[in-house]
Each structure stands twice: as C-alpha cells, then as structure tokens.
C-alpha cells in the first residue's frame, strides 16, 4: 500500500505509467498483483492469492522476488512498473522469479524514463519456469526524447520439462539511448522458449541485442526473433544464437532490421549450431531499407510514400 511520504512519487509514477500506455486502473485493482518501484524505493507491492512478492530496497535499486505457487493459474496479468523520473539516476533491479510446476501467469512490465538525461537502468533476472508451467512476459519501455539512458537488461531463464517461456521486449517510444540486452534461455525436455525483441532506434542510439537459446532437452523448441527499425545515426548489432543440443530439438533465429535513412547502421550475427544429429536449427535475417514492393503496394491504395513507410515500420514493431 502507499504510505503518506511517498504519495507524490507514486502519483508521478502512475501518471508516467499511464502516458507510457499502462492501464492505471490495474495498479489500483485489489485482485491484481503489482509492484511499483521508483529509483530504489518500493512505492507499492501487492501480491494476490497464489503469488508472493517480496522486495528489499538496496542502495541503488531493489531486490524483487516473485513466486508463483505450484498449480496456480493467475487470471489477471501481474503488473510491474519500474522507473526513474528525474533526469539523472541509477536503478538496479535484481529480479528472481520462481514459477513453480504447472503454474500459469502473464506479467506486464512497464519501464519508464521519460526525462532521462543521465540515467542507468540495469536488470539482472534469474528466472526458473517449473515443469509444465507457462510464463508470458511483456516488457515495454518509454524513454522520452533526450536519449540519455543506458539500459542493461540481462536475464538467465531455465525452462523445465514441458514449460513455456515467452517474452516480448518492446522499445519504440522515445530514444533508446545505449542498450545492451542479453537474454539467455536453457530449455529442458519438451519445453518452449520464445524471445522477441522489437526496437525503434533513432538519433544516436546504440543498440546491442543478444538472444541466446540452448535446446538442452529432447524435443525442446526455441525461437529468437528480433525486429528493429533504425533511423538517424542509430546503430544496432543483433546476435541471435540457438544451440540444438538434444534429440529432435528445433530452433529458429529470425531477424529483420529495417534501415530507414542513409546514416543508420545495422548488423545481424546469427549463430545456429547443432550437436545432435536429429536436432534442427534454422535462421533467416534480412537487413536493408524498407521493401519497395511493400511501399508501392500501399501507395497503389492512395497513400503517400511517407505514410506507407510509416505503416510498414509500425507493423514491424507491432
């Protein structure tokens, strides 16, 4: 619950959360598990039946432990709201997630840095998905127009037998700043991992993305998908790595980077590897300008060229 001394900060975060596309009613809903963290302060933390949330404030951030109890199927998404509202600051989130066997949960995280001029946001996540558990994680960032942010989200995820991990990281509002995204998943027997990243780089944004999937159990499946649009002088390097180490494991790396402007730079480095003769891992990567045929298809319906490009770019990032 919100105490008196932090009411103002909480109101500021809720307002920014709403501007970033978050549903502020969900932060007030008693039946919704949620956390609101500003810098290193926990402004709100509420679990619901079947979900435990433990937090500990640290010098520069917060240690968060999220437990989904065995067999619990959470109806409403869990909402996480992290942010730094001043122009400068450091926020380190240490996140430990334990989604126990046969549980199911959807988590929506909003990370909000609307005024960042010199802000560092780090996340170190250690996540375990239990047997036949299902975890859907969507993280959306809102960065404002200054680009003065360094973003370092890192996660190690273990998906146990029959478990499902799906994550989508989206950053298309405001300038990215400097970003070093690193998610690594270890998949056990018959488990599934889907890593999706969608980023719109502009200005002088410097973007590094590493999506790594180890298919260590028989029948494990993985998808490392990335969609980037780069304008201005933005630079991006996307590494999609998938290792088929177990019988009948299947993986795919899928990267599209659209370069919209003469000074943006894009690189894709897919690595696909198999160490089992029955495993199969494929990749596809396309880097280049917006496809002329797509643009003309929309222009032939009467749209001008800029609007056609805008629709294609938004589609890629949707």
């Amino acid at each position: 619950m919100v105490s008196g001394s932090i009411e103002k900060e909480y109101a500021g975060m809720v307002e920014a959360y709403e501007k970033a596309g978050g549903d502020k009613d969900s932060l007030a809903d008693k039946d919704t598990a949620k956390i609101v963290i500003h810098e290193n302060k926990v402004l709100s933390s509420d679990g619901v039946s079947g979900i435990k949330i433990e937090t500990k404030e640290l010098e520069n951030g917060v240690d968060v432990r999220l437990i989904i109890e065995e067999g619990v199927k959470v109806k409403k998404p869990v909402h996480l709201c992290f942010g730094v509202l001043p122009e400068e600051g450091l926020q380190e989130i240490i996140l430990k997630v334990d989604a126990r066997d046969n549980s199911e949960v959807s988590v929506i995280a909003h990370c909000i840095f609307p005024n960042a001029v010199k802000v560092i946001h780090k996340m170190d996540a250690d996540i375990e998905i239990g047997i036949n558990a299902k975890f859907d994680y969507k993280e959306t960032h809102y960065h404002g127009e200054f680009g003065g942010i360094e973003l370092i989200p890192k996660a190690k995820i273990k998906v146990n037998k029959g478990g499902v991990w799906q994550s989508t990281f989206a950053l298309s509002e405001g300038l990215v700043g400097k970003m070093d995204y690193d998610f690594e998943v270890f998949c056990q027997e018959d488990s599934v991992a889907e890593l999706i990243v969608k980023v719109y780089g502009k200005g002088n944004d410097d973007i590094k993305i590493l999506e790594k999937i180890h298919l260590d159990g028989a029948g494990a499946r993985g998808l490392a998908k990335s969609r980037l649009v780069l304008g201005g002088k933005a630079r991006a390097e996307v590494r999609g790595e998938t290792y088929g180490n177990a019988p009948h494991s299947r993986g795919h790396v899928d990267c599209i980077e659209l370069v919209n402007g003469s000074e943006a730079r894009a690189t894709a480095v897919p690595i696909v590897s198999v160490t089992d003769e029955t495993a199969k891992v494929t990749h596809e990567a396309a880097i280049g300008s917006v496809d002329r045929r797509q643009v003309e298809t929309l222009m032939a319906r009467g749209l001008d060229e800029d609007r056609a490009v805008d629709i294609i770019v938004k589609g890629i990032l949707r």
Partner: protein, 252 residues
C-alpha cells in the same frame, strides 16, 4: 478512360513494350491476353507507375490526362489501382487494416462484404496479418478484396487467377464482375482464355505490342490458334508485326 499511345519501354537496351496502343473504355472489362514474357506485367507496372518503370516513349492518358510523371500515390488518388500478381506480404498489417487503407474509408460492414465476395469468411481473416502465414491463394484473394473495398475507377488485375485453386475460380470471376458492376472499369491481364470470357473486349499481346483487339470468343480462338502453338513467341512471323499492330489499332 485509359489510352496507351505508342508506348515504349526498353530495359537494358531490350524492348519490352514496343509501340503499344491500347484503349480501355469507361465501364468495360478489357482483357489483355498474352503468353509468358510478352509484357503483360510490365504494362501493368507502367500504368500504375511502379517498379521504377518509366516509358522510354509514348504516352499513358487517364481520363484525358497524361499520367506519365505522376507518382504511384497520385495515380491511385486519380482512381487507378493495381492488384499485383504476387502481392507483397506486410508483417503487422492486418487484413482489416489493409482493406481500410483506401480513401473511401470503408467500414467493417463493407470490408466484410468484400471478403465474402472473394469467398473468405471475415471472422477468420479480419485479424490475420497479410504476412507469410497466408497461403498464396489467400493473399491473392485479399488483394482482390482490397481493390473491391477501394472501388477505383480503373482496376488493373494482373493474373488474378494465378495461384487460385480451380474450385475458387468461379468465385473469383463473379467477384470481378461484381467489381465492374459497382462501377470500376477493369484491365484484366491474363494468359487464360477462361478468364477473359467475362471481358467486353480482349486485346492479344505479343512482343510488347497489341496484335489484335476484339470480342472475347473471337480473340480467344485466335490466341489459341496462333499464340499457344507459336514457336516464335515474342517474334510474331505469321503476318508482319506492323500490319497486326495497325489492325489492332483500328479495332481498339
């Protein structure tokens, strides 16, 4: 409505469209019948202004106006549109979004009608992306539905039957007739005599020139007898090419 006058296009020094003359009258379905490689798609691209194709000679007039220097968008805004032979796939753009793009702002009711007319159940398709998850035939039918939603003055349909299964062909033909009934003139580009049965007039294309123009049945027979058995595709030898073109002009 559309007049193509002495049109030429050379690509890498090779003539692709070679002094073409063609006239599409307001309200008609005009078939262009030609074997592979005779310049059918190039003609479509030149009229729509896509693929960076610019005529190296001649004129394209639409409603009396020279459209040669217009952008693709301007031509579309003037009332021309193209259903591509191989329509582009666009990730993140739903069928609903795509069919809503035309300036007419068709509502969901009209969009659903257009899908139904091409044999697609709106409930199943409205929220699908027009991306690689659609089959070739589905994407083609959505292309035709989008033209129906737009209701252009002139619809260029480039090989609308390619990739469509035989069971769906009657649906395709009836939807083209419906499009025409609703006021769109149609330039129907195809190599299939069956498709041009619905046309009011048909022009036979060879080597980037119109050889003959006339009623569908007559042109289909002529096409079957002369073009399908021809061993000189794109090098007509049965009469002098200039003589045929002259005749074609007169019958247009």
């Amino acid at each position: 409505m559309l007049q193509v006058d002495e049109l030429f296009l050379k690509l890498d020094g090779k003539p692709i469209i070679n002094g073409m003359n063609l006239q599409v009258k307001k309200g008609e379905i005009h078939g262009v019948l030609g074997e592979n490689g005779t310049g059918k798609t190039t003609l479509a691209y030149l009229i729509m202004g896509v693929n960076n194709y610019k005529p190296t000679g001649g004129k394209i007039l639409f409603e009396g106006q020279d459209i040669g220097e217009m952008s693709v968008s301007q031509r579309a805004q003037e009332g021309i549109s193209l259903a591509w032979q191989e329509p582009a796939r666009i990730e993140g753009l739903t069928v609903m979004d795509y069919l809503s793009l035309s300036g007419r702002n068709p509502g969901i009711k009209r969009i659903s009608e257009c899908l139904e007319m091409v044999g697609m159940e709106p409930r199943r398709y409205l929220d699908r992306d027009i991306d690689n998850t659609l089959s070739g035939g589905e994407r083609k039918r959505i292309e035709l539905a989008s033209i129906m939603a737009m209701q252009p003055k002139l619809a260029i349909l480039d090989e609308p039957d390619s990739g469509i299964d035989i069971v769906s062909l009657p649906i395709l033909l009836s939807s083209m007739m419906e499009l025409n009934k609703q006021g769109s003139s149609i330039l129907l580009i195809t190599h299939s005599e069956q498709m041009v049965e619905i046309a009011d007039r048909v022009s036979v294309l060879c080597a980037g020139s119109i050889l003959k123009t006339g009623p569908p049945e007559e042109m289909s027979t002529w096409f079957k007898e002369n073009c399908q058995s021809c061993v000189h595709i794109n090098e007509p030898v049965f009469e002098s090419l200039s003589e045929l073109i002259r005749k074609g002009k007169n019958s247009g």
